[in-house]
Amino acid sequence: MPSRTLEARVRHHRPRIAVIELHGEINGFAEAALNDAYAKATDQQVETILLNFADVDYINSNGIALIVGLLAKARASHTRLLASGLSEHYIEIFTITRLADFMTIFPDEASAIQSDNASSAKESQDDGGDGR
């Protein structure tokens, strides 16, 4: 089985949302690609980073550790981390590891962005409304 080294492409979808499109395998070899993409995504002010897993066919425990690393960075900078395009199997793994508790999982990119718009709007409203 030929392995597919991870390629990660960053798109700034709109101001304050970056999408990291992941292509290939998320294993120990993916560290540089993943960290570089994260750095590129955050070189502009972003509130939300969406990890799009639609073209990822393999994630192992080393890959999970890398995602945990990204999640730790995101939490430290108060950036929301979302996930989309995970297969049922990897949704199960995200659930077992409790990653799903810390990053909302959406079926696809469109639904993630739509939901992020809604929650951003709600947060703005909340910020303005009750002063939190």
Binding site: M1, F29, Y58, I96, T97, F102
Partner: protein, 488 residues
């Protein structure tokens, strides 16, 4: 005066001058002609008798040489077969008229393991027999000094090379069998590759190495396999595969491999192959080379000492004696593999097991769960057991019973090596990891535990083994969390 027989000059009558110093008369010449014509056939007959006697002496000398060669060879072949409970060992040896240099040998070790040798010297007659005798002694000595088949062949080559006649060498396959577990470690000095008849098909036992005596300082690759109960291997010499039929077609390796696949019973394998060889060559075949066969069969029912290498899945309840796993809810080895310890090779293990299991035993969801568990167990074996040393392989076996599949993953870590075990396992806590209180890593065992129905861990001095078990039936709701880690 020429002596001519059947228009062939066979001698000359040479006469000197007459004592009377007179010329030979016409009568004299007539008499000499008559004498020559009568003497020629007599001389011819005498010549033929002498040639015949010389040929008979030469034949006798060759026959005597062949008798000596045969005697040397037969004296040195094992007279008694090793008796291994739970095993059938069947050798067969038929020398060609010209006596090749085939041999086989069994070398028992005090710990119960058995060395098995098959070899072939590249020559015939007494020279081949002498080299065979020397090689056999050298191998026996080397086998006592070295407990690794590769090192044994290396040592034997070093000892043989200085003294072996030029242009002669010895092909030789050497394996060490652990009868209790069915584990076979082997190396090969250029001999025809033995076949293993598995329950799932026929595979070659392939390991590379130069023939003994061909080159100084040769190194021999070492491989290993496991014979499950009911499986057998066949060692053979080229006399079988290079046999020709009247149309000059060769018996050949593909035919042998096919026949191995057709015949599952190791006990009667040799009879079956000889019958096939007989059909192939036809009556009146003049055997061109020695035919040597050795079949090793692990019996389906364990013998008195058959304490087995049985997988320990949950059907131990079906097996009150803890063995004999071919019965009832018995386990069948589908296939096994050996992967070098290198990052990323866990994907090879997944692909191999997926192929062996096919897509009808487990649901797609459970196949994916098992695949991730295999990946994690293989990565642990490569990293913690073998420290990513590529020369240390991870062995993977796929087994199936009526109720479950099992995947066994072994490394060379042995006792106390594999870093993560159920005993020293700290469950990962994502919140602690995000807070920097735990390393981001350490998910492997946790994932396995949650993905398979049962995980068993065992270790001896040499190997650390993890068994992953998935029931064929989808667990009912509420059972899904009934995951267990068991220490064998």
């Amino acid at each position: 005066m020429p002596l001519v027989s059947q228009n062939e000059l066979i001698g000359v009558l040479n006469l000197g001058a007459r004592m009377s110093e007179q010329d030979y008369s016409a009568d004299d010449r007539g008499l000499l002609n008559t004498l020559a014509s009568q003497a020629a056939p007599a001389v011819r007959v005498a010549q033929l008798v002498r040639e015949q006697r010389e040929r008979a002496r030469e034949r006798e000398r060759i026959e005597q040489e062949l008798r000596v060669a045969r005697l040397i060879q037969q004296t040195l072949l094992p007279r008694n077969l090793p008796v291994l409970p739970g095993w059938n060992i069947t050798p067969y040896y038929q020398p060609a008229r010209a006596v090749g240099g085939d041999f086989y040998d069994f070398i028992p070790f005090p710990d119960g393991r058995l060395g098995v040798v098959i070899g072939d010297v590249t020559d015939k007659g007494v020279p081949a027999a002498l080299v065979m005798a020397t090689t056999r002694s050298i191998l026996r000595t080397a086998a006592q000094e070295e407990r690794s088949p590769g090192k044994t062949l290396e040592r034997a080559n070093d000892l043989l090379f200085p003294d072996i006649p030029e242009k002669m060498f010895v092909t030789c396959f050497y394996a060490i069998l652990d009868p209790a577990s069915g584990h076979l470690r082997y190396a090969n000095a250029g001999h025809d590759l033995p076949y293993q008849r598995r329950l799932a098909g026929v595979t070659e036992l392939r390991a590379t190495g130069m023939p003994l005596g061909a080159m100084p300082g040769s190194r021999y690759e070492e491989k290993e396999t496991i014979l499950a109960r009911g499986e057998h291997i066949l060692l053979y010499s080229d006399g079988l595969v290079e046999a020709h039929n009247p149309s000059y077609a060769m018996f050949g390796f593909p035919r042998l491999e096919t026949l191995m696949g057709q015949h599952a019973d190791g006990a009667t394998l040799i009879e079956f192959l000889l019958a096939q060889l007989n059909d192939f060559t036809g009556e009146g075949w003049e055997q061109e080379d020695d035919v040597t066969l050795v079949a090793l069969q692990r019996l389906t029912a364990p013998g008195p000492s058959g304490n087995g290498h049985s997988p320990s899945p949950e059907n131990q309840a079906d097996e009150p004696d803890g063995g004999g796993y071919m019965r009832g809810g018995a386990w069948r080895l589908l296939n096994e593999w050996s992967f070098p310890s290198a990052p990323g090779n866990e994907r090879l293990a997944i692909a191999a097991v997926n192929e062996a299991l096919g897509d009808h035993l487990l649901s797609p969801r459970r196949r994916e769960q098992l695949a991730s568990a295999i990946a994690e167990a293989t990565m642990n074996a490569m990293e913690h057991g073998n420290h990513y040393q590529p020369e240390l392989p991870v062995m993977v076996e796929a087994l199936v019973s009526d109720t479950a599949v099992a995947v066994r993953i072994s490394d060379e870590g042995g006792l106390g090596e594999g870093a993560e075990t159920p005993d020293n396992y700290e469950p990962p806590d994502l919140a602690a990891k995000l807070a920097g209180l735990q390393t981001p890593r350490g998910w492997g065992l946790f994932l396995i535990k949650h993905l398979v129905d049962e995980m068993r861990v065992s270790a001896d001095e040499k190997r650390h083994t993890v068994e992953l078990i998935m029931r064929l039936e989808e667990p009912r709701e509420g059972e899904a969390s009934d995951h267990a880690i068991t220490h064998a």
